[in-house]
Subunit: 480 residues, 2 copies
Amino acid sequence: MPKDKKFVESITSRDQDFAQWYTDVVREAKLCDYSSVKGCLNYLPNGYAIWENIQANLDRRFKETGVENVYLPVLIPESLLQKESEHIQGFAPEVAWVTHGGLEKLEERFCIRPTSETLFCDHWQKTVKSYRDLPKIWNQWNSVLRWEKTTRPFLRSREFLWQEGHTLHATAEEAKKRTQLMLDIYYDFVTKDLAIPLIKGQKTESEKFAGAEATYTIEAMMHDGKALQSGTSHYFGSGFPDAFNIKYLDKNNKLHSAYETSWGLSTRIIGAIIMVHGDDSGLVLPPKIAPTQATIIPIAQHKEGVVEKAQELLKRLKIDGIRVKLDDSDKTPGYKFAEQEMLGIPIRIEIGPKDIEKNEVIIVRRDNGEKITVNIDNIETEVHNILENIQLNMYNKAEKFLNSHIQKATTMEDMINKFKQERYFIKAMWCGSKECENQIKADTGGAGSRCIPFDEEKISDKCICCGKKAEHMVIWGKSY
Amino acid sequence: MPKDKKFVESITSRDQDFAQWYTDVVREAKLCDYSSVKGCLNYLPNGYAIWENIQANLDRRFKETGVENVYLPVLIPESLLQKESEHIQGFAPEVAWVTHGGLEKLEERFCIRPTSETLFCDHWQKTVKSYRDLPKIWNQWNSVLRWEKTTRPFLRSREFLWQEGHTLHATAEEAKKRTQLMLDIYYDFVTKDLAIPLIKGQKTESEKFAGAEATYTIEAMMHDGKALQSGTSHYFGSGFPDAFNIKYLDKNNKLHSAYETSWGLSTRIIGAIIMVHGDDSGLVLPPKIAPTQATIIPIAQHKEGVVEKAQELLKRLKIDGIRVKLDDSDKTPGYKFAEQEMLGIPIRIEIGPKDIEKNEVIIVRRDNGEKITVNIDNIETEVHNILENIQLNMYNKAEKFLNSHIQKATTMEDMINKFKQERYFIKAMWCGSKECENQIKADTGGAGSRCIPFDEEKISDKCICCGKKAEHMVIWGKSY
């Protein structure tokens, strides 16, 4: 049955060519494709539905901590972007400029927002006067644009979707707390809902966000051993607010600086889902964010009663809150199986005349291929249990992979050799200098500092590169 | 207590100066404000939360009919925008142009999307090959930009938020059905959830969308008698698909044209909510989309047990699915009352020591000021009932207003006089010519054709303007 195998045969083996496998999965699962606008993606229904579930689950967590959503303009006047000097230096080379409105040339250029710190600060400068106006805990779900040279689906594109949270506080302490809280929320969401294990830590000076005092990150390991920065939370201190002249009157009527944070998570995370969980049959989606959690596939569906029974199950599972679909199209069962696997739908439910006779269905798990015979009377409970089990199993599998691919090194020779063998994470001590960071990157063929993890270990006293006194243990790795 | 009255005193009377009243309500209810980007709004938490509820309620209805969400790029290459000639003529004068990416001048200009027909068609041209690929029932929630000269909050701004649905079908019949279905969904949503009565109809040739074969509309009447176009659904025939060379192979392997629709509803509708329901105390929100449906306000809250009892009610109502807040801040009750009224929160629940003694609360309705004493034991049921009642009452009140302000005219003199007295809707016959449309607009000081309503009446045989044979009855009115 060559037709049934179409999906499976159309993707490259993951271990043979990881990059090609990734591109193949994105295309065959119809997640996104390139538009006629160079470097800009069309987010297609299968891909966008994943993003909608990510939005729903993350937004709920945000709102539980008092976050309010807003929407600020897509355009930023050039003069506004220039107000914070590090920020403009970081972003000016990679923004798109609007120079004409309708038939007229504009007096001042606008850039399409690469990020919106300047817009938030501009608004707060006009509206925040007193301690009564604080805190502001705002977020927006939007798209941003950065004029990248090379692009890859979800991982790097000129326009991408994300949320950017921006908050303003009366005290540094409160702002720092919020920075950590949002990092914790990302951690909770990515580990629990996306089943992706993470390393939490702080970015080094050279890797932090343009204009921030400190940048915190969650780092994930893809199946090829490369890191993917999966979410960041920035503490700005009062640098940005001061540059925008945001001051508030405290209870004693004294003028005070305000303190700011920002934090973001983008559609890059869809790339992480693919590269952490996917396999040679295609996508594998964690049940908690899978747009479809189960597909019912009738076997010998021309026989009397099969489609009717399948429809009955569909109805029962829907009522019970399962995101379920029935595929009673005229494609062959084999084709439907391959399609369900390619799309990463967590389970398929096979039901044929013999199963109906025995009051049973066969449930096949996408994560490990296991076939489970289930009595129809208990189908709701069983499906819920299996989905929960898949979610857990996917996390455990990915965690095992991560833990078995983190190694330590105390000499450059050891580190270089380890990176030559496998491109995974290496823990090593570092003196804190940019020079050593660059040197390590050059010597290892591109392994940069991913973060200073919160659970630092003291591997030795000396910087692995220069031998001077070590300040921190750093996780080094190649990355997307 | 002048401080308590602050909110109420800060807005202009609605009947005295409607335009100023509108601006005052938008500002005092903190729905949106102008950013530093001329003509672009900041959608602030109170305004954006209304939009989030609109999105949720409309998106649910869309998905029930098989709509899938996508996201296509913010930029459109100039050559793509030019592919359909009426379309480019309609939009070229009002788009913003990106000419530089990073530090380089672009070879081809991009415009920021004013609408996305061209992007959808461009994608479908590449991907739709066979009848198996149809239909496509797609939608996106995004922002668009049109370089308007004059702007007003929600009603007209350079950037605005909306949804734009785009569908592609194998037959004209199916596409026409979809066009009507989406108009019906808008009608259902706006009348039921926003409590705004509507007139459904078709736009005249001169008022239809650039490139469409037919445009259908829902028209609402604001409290000043002006119309607001609240949602539109367009049937394109195969004009756009043909211009983009979208053809599909049917079951007999013959090449066929495809048929397209698009339909949109924007943040303008928030302007309609304000102008249909608002009063001299501020906003009045329909319970179904109010971000907060009830505020609990403790009276004499320093007294023992008051705040505790209020918190207990808060918890009970939340569990029961009511969007409820407790205001136990140190503001005076009078200030809190005025604030709840300004924000348009459907009910407030007053609870003080005497009420607690009697096991009662006082519920005050925002829509009519009625005070209702409610036994605490039944509070969940009572609150649900009152909210439902408010929703109905708001619709009935607005419907009564609309019906009592639609009049008929058979002579120009009569029509002109009626528009001089009150700026409401006039039903009159029309010959179908653009000249008469323009003449009527000129003679009435700006009343245009709002639509040819689906429930046309035959008022006379002759066009009210030229006296020639009448083709249609048109609803005429001034508009936003």
